[in-house]
């Protein structure tokens, strides 16, 4: 019996390694994509966002503010404009992505002990990262300047300097980005993309293999030999094992070593990651096999499913918080191995969780693997029976012919 598993297993490997399309997707895409993504997000954070200045107050206060702000890495004050119209034109030409405006009475309001000075800030919303960089850095400078002004004003009221200082800084705060303190956009997105690459290349590749088998009308994906039920089991296990061997190795490279090699977050325990990968890869295989049941020919899968990559990364709740998703999509997300896989991986790899802490995801993936394999097995079992009936009615010597065709291929 064991030889049957080995037979299906080696035959599937042969099919994979002799199919250039599948090889391209399984190996080239899987290994090249992470590198391309790393290159795209190499700089991690955006620095020196060009900003135009419109300073009607022309005061030492505004100049000091601008000087401090320009020192922040996020922005660069590239243009000084005489009017808002001039600055707006620069913005429309995309020469700058923000405008800071000081009104005429800026210094006067600051000098007035009861005054409140205003600064207007305009942000280009074409990328939210512009807004974030401009807004947060300006806010930091504003808070710092404000404290100095407050201290001055309290002193003017007759408080002694130390008390004024203590009052203004009555509860200083300290902010910490946990786990990945220096992480930028790439550190956030690439770990999620790595798991998606595994999920999607496997889905496309398996659909391609299944589509090819359908086109060539091979019986091999239907049934093996005369012991029908055993045959289906052999087939499912043998094939799954072939994918597992390949993808477990790919996953080890991608999510195990890639982050360590290319300076991405990797504070998790590598053993935990490798253990977590087992149910993830299995669930992905089961999921892909089930999807491949409806694929009629080798290319249609890619045409139909290519846009799912974007849909899945949102559905899983990575780009957009899961808490904000409508209930129906949150439920739909539970059908996807990627949902549990990506969160589990991010928690272990980027946030240093242990395998016990991702138990929820880990167990969910095992359950998915079980369900998807069960569904695939049942469908295959039924279709192999139907096939046999047809074969019998055509008065073919069904069993022997099946066997012959299988072993010929």
């Amino acid at each position: 019996m064991g030889s049957n598993y080995t037979f299906v297993f080696t035959r599937e490997l042969k099919r994979i390694f002799t199919d250039s399309g599948v090889m391209l997707i399984f190996f080239i895409a899987t290994l090249a994509y992470p590198l391309i993504y790393k290159a795209m997000y190499y700089n991690e954070r955006i620095e020196d966002i060009p900003v135009a200045v419109v300073d009607l107050s022309q005061s030492s206060d505004s100049r000091e503010f601008l000087h401090k702000w320009n020192a922040a890495p996020d922005v660069k004050l590239t243009h000084t404009c005489a009017s808002m119209a001039e600055a707006e034109a620069l913005l429309k030409d995309q020469k700058v992505h923000g405008i800071i405006f000081f009104p005429k009475d800026f210094a006067a309001q600051l000098a007035d002990p009861l005054g409140q000075a205003h600064i207007s800030l305009y942000c280009d919303m074409s990328s939210f990262l512009y807004m974030k960089g401009i807004y947060l850095s300006c806010n930091q400078v504003m808070l710092e300047s404000m404290r100095n002004i407050q201290i001055d004003r309290y002193e003017d009221m007759g408080m002694d300097k130390e008390f004024a200082w203590a009052l203004v800084q009555d509860a200083p705060y300290h902010e910490t980005a946990l786990f990945t303190p220096t992480g930028g956009y790439g550190s956030f997105l690439i770990p999620a993309v790595l798991m998606l690459i595994l999920h999607q290349t496997m889905l496309f590749g398996i659909c391609m293999l299944a589509g090819t088998a359908r086109e060539e009308n091979k019986v091999i994906y239907r049934t093996v030999g005369k012991h029908r039920s055993f045959g289906v089991l052999h087939m499912v296990v043998g094939r799954a094992l072939a994918y597992f061997v390949i993808y477990y190795a790919l996953a080890a490279i991608l999510v195990g070593f890639f982050p360590r090699l290319f300076d991405l977050p990797h504070i998790g325990d590598i053993g935990d990651i490798l253990r977590f990968n087992v149910p993830y890869i299995l669930a992905c295989i089961g999921f892909s096999l089930c999807v491949s049941l409806v694929i009629r020919n080798r290319e249609s899968g890619l045409v139909l499913l290519i846009s799912t990559s974007l849909i899945f990364i949102f559905l899983a709740g990575v780009s957009w918080p899961k808490e904000m998703m409508p209930e129906i999509w949150r439920l739909a997300a539970c059908l996807l191995p990627y949902t549990f896989g990506v969160h589990g991986f991010i928690h272990i790899n980027s946030m240093g969780a242990t395998l016990e802490q991702v138990e929820w995801e880990y167990v969910a993936l095992w359950q998915q693997a079980l369900w998807y394999f069960a569904i695939y097995y049942i469908v295959m079992y039924i279709s192999s029976r139907r096939q046999e009936k047809i074969a019998n009615s055509q008065k073919l010597t069904a069993n022997s012919s099946f066997e012959e065709r299988v072993f010929e291929s």
Binding site: Y37, S145, A171, Y173, E175, A177, L304, L315
Partner: protein
């Protein structure tokens, strides 16, 4: 062309892959991002102080719309554990003796922690915790000044002598749906157009029927390709118009420039993606290779267009590559027309770039003609 119409309706793939995928994507993204901004992001408060002031702080924080306190505990490890399990995005920590130290001017420290691993959730939590930390300070100053007998309006200006008024151009709500869907949805449409274009031409090659198709057109390449692609192009353009109307008329995303020019940009983008499809099958005259390479290439367009991570911060070679992605040019037209209301001239270079893709495909077409006539010589692996 008649032959093509028959084929188009004979196989459900074409309709499902174009109309079905677009309809689903539209509904999916618009409903998923319906709320637009992140609200009620779960956070934890570690209250080691258990004082009236920490109670009030928790109460006030809970009242804000952007965060939702999921966990109040006096153990930091417990909160950290919740964060590692993905249950919360931020931790606000009030140390023991905070109240006592505050009233005796010992300047107790507040700590807060957020995660960078989930950008939207982490950021939203961060902003709110930052605001809270500043509010605590402001509230205490107000109390002290009140005790000194100052009237409230005077106090207000003492505490807040400087204010920054933020203006978010064209998207004053900071709405993520407006921001993301405007580029993702046209991007998916372009992807679908390219893949199907590769498919309809490549399928003829695969089935070795391309020479018949050419023969039917009297071996006139222009007639053949026009006859083949016209029905699909009409379908794609209708989808493009539908997509534009769904976003800007039905849902009502703002357009500060010209509706017509924005839609025209989308249609040009569709043409250029179709041309890219033709180019792919010309250069790789095997259906499977053209589809795989085409898919890998077009998927990069979403990141390279620079609508999430700005193009300006990419490495020079990556930046150069981004100009080879039609989506990048459509995105820039979108920024000009929908967000900036910029003059038409600003979008011209990008419109020309989109036409450039069509031109390149035309220049390469003699080779495609050769491939189509001699389809039997091109062996499929």
């Amino acid at each position: 062309m008649k032959r093509e119409l028959k084929q188009m309706f004979a196989r459900p793939l074409y309709i499902v892959a174009s109309v079905g995928v677009m309809a689903f994507s539209t509904i999916f993204f618009l409903s998923l991002l319906k709320k637009g901004s992140a609200e009620e992001m779960p956070v934890a408060v570690v209250d080691m102080d258990q004082s009236t002031i920490s109670q009030r702080l928790i109460h006030e924080m809970q009242a804000t719309p952007s965060v939702d306190i999921q966990l109040v505990t006096n153990s930091y490890p417990e909160a950290r554990d919740a964060m590692q399990k993905g249950q919360i995005y931020g931790i606000f920590l009030i140390h023991e003796g905070f109240y006592r130290d505050l009233v005796s001017f010992k300047r107790p420290q507040l700590d807060f922690y957020m995660t960078n691993s989930y950008t939207v959730g982490g950021n939203t939590a961060y902003k709110q915790m930052l605001t809270m930390a500043n509010l605590v300070s402001g509230a205490f100053q107000r109390e002290v000044l009140r005790k000194k007998g100052l009237p409230d309006d005077v106090i207000m200006h003492r505490i807040q002598p400087l204010a920054v008024d933020g203006h978010m151009i064209a998207n004053p709500w900071g709405n993520y749906s407006v921001y993301l869907v405007s580029t993702i949805l046209p991007g998916i449409l372009g992807l679908v157009c390219m893949m199907l274009t590769i498919f309809v031409i490549g399928y003829e090659l695969k089935m070795k029927t391309a020479h018949q198709w050419m023969a039917m057109s009297g071996n006139n390449f222009t007639i053949a390709i026009l006859g083949k692609l016209t029905p699909y192009t009409i379908l794609y353009l209708l989808l493009g118009i539908g997509c534009h109307m769904a976003l800007y008329d039905y849902v009502g995303f703002p357009v500060h420039g010209s509706h017509v020019r924005l839609m025209f940009g989308l249609l040009l983008f569709i043409f250029s993606m179709e041309a890219l499809g033709v180019l792919m099958i010309t250069l790789l005259p095997a259906l499977r290779d053209a589809l795989s390479i085409g898919a890998l290439y077009a998927m990069l367009g979403f990141s390279l267009s620079g609508f999430t991570y700005p193009n300006m911060s990419m490495l020079a070679p990556v930046k150069a590559l981004s100009y080879l992605e039609p989506l990048r040019h459509y995105y820039l037209i979108y920024v000009n027309e929908a967000l900036m209301g910029a003059p038409a001239m600003n979008s011209m270079p990008f419109a020309l770039a989109l036409l450039g893709f069509v031109l390149v495909a035309l220049l390469a077409s003699p080779r495609l003609k050769e491939v189509l006539i001699n389809d039997r010589q091109f062996e499929q692996q």
